[in-house]
Symmetry: C2
């Protein structure tokens, strides 16, 4: 059903259709979460010139509109992935091949954990970040 093109997604978000946002989204849609340096070299391969400053700025507006989400796996740099509005999920990073897998987990259990924390402390939890590390099937 909801198969929007990149151009349509950008329009639907009320954003200007710039070369930057278009190319970046295109790259993000066919990759695992990637970093800005990786986006930069991917652009270079496609013979597209786009400044790193422009990339950071385009990503920033795309994130605000939830077309992109930012991931931090503790590598000292952020990663970005294309995101549709309702796809909250988590990641598994293979310590051997470094591949990043998207995983959807039982959010009921997560919610149970959060309730647990909230009852013991006086926190109100708005958000969580959960990642797993280990060995993937290819590397097992």
């Amino acid at each position: 059903m909801n198969k929007l093109s990149i151009e349509e997604k950008i329009a639907a978000a009320g954003l200007k259709l710039s070369q930057g946002k278009k190319e970046i989204l295109e790259i993000l849609e066919k990759n695992a979460p990637i970093s800005v340096p990786e986006i930069l070299s991917s652009l270079k391969t496609k013979k597209i010139s786009l400044n790193k400053t422009s990339i950071y700025r385009a990503l920033s507006t795309l994130i605000k509109k939830k077309l992109v989400s930012e991931i931090d796996l503790g590598e000292g740099k952020k990663r970005y992935e294309a995101s549709s509005k309702e796809d909250h999920h988590h990641h598994f990073l293979c310590n051997t091949c470094q591949h990043i897998y998207h995983i959807r987990l039982d959010e009921m259990l997560v919610s149970k954990i959060e309730k647990n924390i909230e009852s013991k402390n006086k926190f109100s939890i708005e958000n969580h970040k959960i990642e797993f590390y280990g060995k993937c099937g290819d590397c097992g």
Copy 2:
């Protein structure tokens, strides 16, 4: 029972008792997880001169010996906390006051989530990183 002094902990780990390791551990023991820049200014306040390179190197050896653990809350820099050998726990970051709280959560539930993931995929999970964000009691 196991109340070792900083000097004793360093000795027990088979490490040389250097000014750096001693002062750093002292600071870490009386603080929430802090970053290297913060350690640096904390040292300056105490009128102790220690180079940032030395701090990074001291932290690195302390981490290897599990006297310190490294935390990444996605702020673009690492944080460090004093750790005893068996205190695996997680953190809650208040989005308002930025305080970091240590939280111990029901690892049985976490384990259940992990089993779940492992059964659906062919991963073997070795490690996880779980953090919560929201509003703390003081800021509620």
